[in-house]
């Protein structure tokens, strides 16, 4: 056969190529350190602070020549599942961005930081944290997160739209009635062909807004021990009713499904109830958006009800370089770092930085009414630390709320169904997650 000579050569090439291919395919993406250096991997959500973080890491590496930091950037919406998949594959990075919402189910993978916190308390200024923050970083008395960031439910409003409509800006004494009145005055239904403008946005799809109303009406989502769902109480139902009636009765929020995308930024909604401090950075980057914050308006039950959640850094239980990761975590949350984040537009977890921000005169990136934001601390409530909280709220409760917004269920029915389903879930799964 004419090709017999070349045959082995051909197959050898194929084998070599295949081997190379497999080598490339199987290459571990764990960063390989230069000899003598440790590499720690850091998993963080993509945010407008990206450049800040990158600079911080560079500064850290200069201070600690023996450590290399490898950053994994992940989009926010994927972060949750990706982190869990990595955890399931026992490939969690050393340091990862975490929060008290996620802590409950990431607990088995998170290192107990209590000894480290106690050891270095003076160095990184443990007492500098607000007491509420200090409490939020713990679970069952143990520390798991070093906080960098917090979220607080606030009332956001667009000053220009208020001025244009001649409506007085929100005050610290506002109640639901004031919210309704202002909202209605600010709503244009767009009958003249322009896109409709709504007095208030309505956050759909998660508990960010409706839970506020439930609490402010005097109800609760869960019992204090987190084991029973209490959304079927009359107070909770009253809160759900207000959430629905924003559009169905008072008509100052868009009907279900018609919420303008990024309404506040696009100046299609005048107010946000709840919101997220994460967005301050983006609001500040939006030209022409003159925004401010105020305390949440009080409900029939109380003014409390807004969320107080923290986010920060956890170290994975299986990390082989916990000390280095801890060093990085401390570096990223030191007062100077927090101050530079706050300067872009955020709330501070540290008292010293908060006070400095409040004292600062003149125009600043933060909302004008920063004092109100820090006052809201008194009214913020942390998220229950039930291990299945997130799952219950998303998978079991939220669909009933969705149906309520669509008019398929009355608020009473929604509350009852949600509570029944959540309780059934907890009866089955309970604290199955250790």
């Amino acid at each position: 056969m004419p090709f017999r000579q070349r045959e082995p050569l051909l197959w050898l090439t194929v084998v070599l190529l295949a081997v190379t291919g497999f080598w490339w395919a199987g290459r571990s993406r764990e960063p390989r350190p230069a000899p003598g250096r440790t590499v720690i991997s850091w998993y963080v959500i993509i945010s407008p602070l990206r450049d800040l973080y990158t600079a911080e890491v560079a500064a850290f590496e200069k201070l600690h020549p023996g450590i290399e930091v490898h950053i994994f950037w992940v989009p926010g919406t994927e972060y949750n599942v990706k982190l869990k998949t990595l955890a399931a594959a026992h490939q969690l990075p050393d340091l990862f961005f975490s929060g008290d919402v996620w802590l409950s189910y990431l607990l088995p993978f998170s290192r107990d930081l209590t000894p480290l916190v106690r050891r270095d308390a003076a160095e990184f200024g443990l007492d500098d944290y607000f007491p509420a923050i200090r409490r939020a970083m713990q679970l069952d008395g143990k520390d798991y997160i070093l906080p960098e960031y917090l979220n607080l439910s606030l009332l956001y409003f667009n000053r220009r739209m208020f001025a244009a409509a001649g409506v007085p800006e929100p005050t610290a004494e506002w109640t639901w009635d004031d919210l309704v009145r202002a909202g209605q005055a600010l709503t244009h239904d767009g009958r003249d062909g322009s896109p409709p403008v709504w007095g208030s946005s309505r956050v759909e799809g998660w508990w960010g807004e409706w839970l506020i109303y439930v609490r402010q009406a005097g109800g609760k989502a869960f019992s204090p021990d987190g084991r029973r769902c209490l959304l079927d109480s009359p107070a909770a139902i009253a809160g759900l009713r207000f959430y629905l009636e924003k559009s169905s009765r008072y008509h100052f929020s868009a009907p279900a499904g018609f919420e303008p995308l990024n309404g506040f930024v696009n100046q299609r909604v005048a107010m946000i109830v709840g919101g997220h401090v994460n967005y301050w950075l983006n609001y500040n980057q939006t030209p022409g958006l003159d925004w401010d914050v105020q305390l949440l308006p009080a409900g029939p039950g109380s003014r409390s009800g807004g969320e107080l959640a923290i986010a920060g850094y956890s170290i994975s239980r299986e990390s082989r370089h916990p000390e280095e990761a801890w060093a990085l975590a401390k570096f990223l949350t030191r007062p100077e770092a927090i101050a530079s984040i706050v300067a872009r537009g955020s709330l501070s977890v540290r008292r010293s930085v908060a006070e400095a921000a409040l004292r600062q005169p003149g125009p600043r990136a933060n909302p004008h009414n920063l004092a109100a934001a820090y006052r809201q601390f008194e009214f913020g409530e942390p998220i229950p630390h039930h291990p299945n909280y997130v799952e219950i709220m998303f998978l079991v409760v939220q669909p009933e709320i969705d149906r309520m917004l669509l008019g398929e269920l009355s608020p009473a029915a929604a509350g009852r169904r949600a509570a029944a389903a959540a309780n059934a879930f907890m009866d089955t799964f309970g604290s199955a997650t250790p």
Binding site: N80, V81, A88, P108, A256, F258, L406, A424, T433
Partner: protein, 299 residues
């Protein structure tokens, strides 16, 4: 070496990797998955045998199981006849003497080989409630467009519509089958005085019944397994939890993925997976039984 031994040797040398692959990547995982479906497995701890509790939970207590079954079934029942019907109709049209048949066939077939994710994204964009192309066009005409992608009433129909763009696949199969029908039979029927419809009913249909059957079976299996479309759609709509408001588009495959990788309920997800598998087997078996009665092979 005897001839039979040589045959055996060569067979296993050549087919060995494939059979090994089958054992490693199909057979073993299938069995392990069955085992896991009887266990509580939350990833953190090793699987713990709990008998039928996962199944009991799914049927009686899980809030998202039956809705996801419903969504998938509704999707299948509506999408399949439409897709197969459209495929057959187009194939019949193209089976006639038409000019540029290759071109038409290409145009109708092309979307079905493109990734479903792309269609989910593009259509999601077109159908966006606030500012999407469709609603803006409707607004020009003075009509108020619905919240196509965010409303539970419309989201699933929209997805059904999107998936119909992939009818090119069964269409080509139909074309192949139609072209295998001997011309003489049509001639004979025509001579006998049969009109077009009668020809279709008595010549075409029986002879392409195997093809119809094949397309229906494959279509059902494909519809039950839908994942890419649902997942891409939920990402493109930035849904906080996949499945849309009130679980309107929570397909079975999507629910399974969430349970497994979103919430670590791997035992439960395995139970869901096996239920799906059994369903597919049953439907295929039923199809074959029904098929045997009205599918005409040969002559």
């Amino acid at each position: 070496m005897t001839h039979r031994r040589a045959q055996s040797l060569w067979f296993w040398m050549f087919a060995g990797p494939a059979v090994a692959g089958f054992a490693a990547f199909s057979l073993w995982p299938m069995l392990e998955s069955l085992w896991l479906s009887f266990c509580q497995y939350e990833v953190v701890t090793p699987p713990r045998f709990i008998g039928l509790q996962n199944y009991a939970y799914l049927f009686a207590h899980d809030a998202s199981f039956w809705p996801s079954v419903k969504v998938t079934l509704v999707f299948t029942v509506i999408q399949l006849p439409l897709a197969v019907g459209a495929a057959l109709a187009l194939a019949l049209l193209l089976n006639q003497p038409v000019r540029g048949r290759g071109f038409w066939r290409a145009v109708y077939f092309l979307p079905s080989i493109l990734p479903q994710a792309v269609f989910a994204v593009v259509f999601g964009y077109i159908f966006q409630a606030d500012g999407g192309l469709l609603n803006r066009l409707l607004a020009l005409g003075g009509l108020h467009g619905a919240a196509w992608t965010t409303s539970p009433t419309w989201a699933l129909p929209v997805l059904i519509g999107i998936s119909l763009w992939g009818f090119g696949y069964p269409m080509v199969i139909f074309l192949g089958g139609l072209q295998n029908v001997p011309r003489e039979l049509y001639e004979a029927a025509h001579i006998d005085g049969a009109g077009a419809w009668a020809r279709f009913r008595h010549v075409t249909l029986p002879l392409i019944s195997p093809v119809i059957f094949f397309n229906v079976v494959m279509g059902v299996i494909g519809a039950l397994k839908v994942f890419d479309l649902a997942y891409a759609f939920s990402v493109a709509q930035a849904q906080p939890a996949p499945g849309g408001p009130a679980r309107a588009t929570l397909f079975y495959g999507l629910n399974l993925y969430q349970q497994a990788f979103g919430y670590f309920h791997m035992g439960l997800a395995s139970a869901m997976a096996w239920l799906l598998f059994v369903c597919i087997l049953l439907i295929t078996a039923v199809n074959f039984r029904v098929g045997r009665r009205w599918v005409h092979y040969g002559d």
